[in-house]
Amino acid sequence: MAHHVLDMPIDAGHARALRIGDTVTLRKTLFGIRDATLIHMFDRDRRTRLDLVGHAVIHTAPNVHRVEPSEAAPVGYAPFCIGTTTSMRMERFTDALMDREGVRLIVGKGGMGPETLKAFAERGGAYLAIVGGAAALETTWIETIVDVDMDDLHPESLWQFAIRDFGPLLVGMDSHGGSLFADVQRDVASRRDAVIASLGAAR
């Protein structure tokens, strides 16, 4: 169980070095995306001017303050509370996100499914689990909102954050077919009948 400190962006080799159970701290850059961002990018073929190649995206829609543009707020937004949303809703976009935009890592909560695992194996990527709902803490890892695109979808815009030691995050899914979420699901499924029986509710 290694700890990796990654200066983003990274290449496929770095992504493939991550194994489930490892921990990761991200540095420099992180992008924020969410349902509407992905629907517009892939179902409506909208293109972004931001370069996501080799980067990590986090499933988020932040609370921000509108401020006068300055060095600390280049596009006039200051972070207020930035957290993470349930990843599974965005399962069908992982492959396209990696293929068309070159994304390597997904930061989210709750895990993702077989399509994502397949995309990671084929293209070299990983899922980094963050603690959902711990947004006040997460916000302290964000330095600035560097850029924003597709802001007509606000708050589901495409966000670019500058980050300081963002993590530790847990590698929940890797490019070798490993998924902590699937492991737990299998374990839970194997306990189900005994739990039901303990309730006297088998029939």
């Binding site: 509407a36 988020t60 829609a61 932040p62 609370n63 921000v64 303050h65 509108r66 207020f80 509370c81 930035i82 957290g83 993470t84 949303t85 349930t86 599974m88 809703r89 909560k109 709750g110 895990g111 689990a129 603690v131 959902g132 709902g133 711990a134 947004a135 006040a136 803490l137 916000t139 302290t140 606000h154 708050p155 847990l170 929940g172 902590l180 979420f181 492991d183 737990v184 699901q185 374990d187 839970v188 499924a189 306990r191 189900r192 005994a194 739990v195 039901i196 303990s198 309730l199 006297g200 509710a201 088998a202 029939r203």
Partner: protein, 290 residues
Amino acid sequence: MDLDLNELEVVCRDLYVRALKILPPDIKAGFSDLQARETSATGRAILGTMVENVAVAERTQNILCQDTGIPIYNLVIGRNVAFDGAGLKAAIRRGCERATKEHSLRSSVVHPITRQNEQTSCGIRVPIIHVDFDARDETVSVEMIPKGSGSENGSFLQMLLPSDGINAVKRFVIDRVIELGGRVCPPTIVGVGIGGTSDLCMHLAKIAATRPLRSACADEDGARIEAELSRAVNELGIGPQGLGGRSTSFAVHVEIAATHITQNPVAVNIQCHSARRARATLTPGGISFD
């Protein structure tokens, strides 16, 4: 007592912000209970991060979770209170809007078809307002619940058959909790509605999910079933965030209603670990926040 609607508006604004920032004491105590029992190292680490987050939110005056939720206001109005009903609803809505604008909260509410976000946390029939009455003299209590979406998406209704019995109700609850896994931000409160009509059953599940910890169902049989299910869900091994461990749920809560001879409805509604709610009481003596 004449209910001052300007005052109510301000209370509704402040309650939204308080709910987002301050985790209720019963949930904090619930975290301590889970930490004492958790055996998985990952589970313990995740619970530790959640507790740290509560402290960071208090220290930095930040909101606990980025999801500002769907705003719900539950009012209980006592005897000898005079108010204009339409004005009351408008005041609640204005309070909700003001919280959003004045505190630059993320508006998480959209039109269901166009997906248009008015950036006010309000929309058609939202905020959700429930009004009930009780026998307290000259007292109005307002509870605000920002219901987070990750856990709200963990909602299910099944019109079981009478011949399926209560055992099918229990299996339904266990199987839905398994199906949801880590998606609903465990540890959770699993709200279960049993009986009523389809809509009442779902509403009961929401009441159960948002009831304080260590409270019990008023019905003896309901209380027994919630105790049984509370034990059972934590033997599944889902754990905090679905990454394994004992702490799947703080508790399972059950609320019941009489139902039709042909029906056996069950509903599940989940509350996540960011189990936020805030309450204020208005009396002729002034306003107090819980």
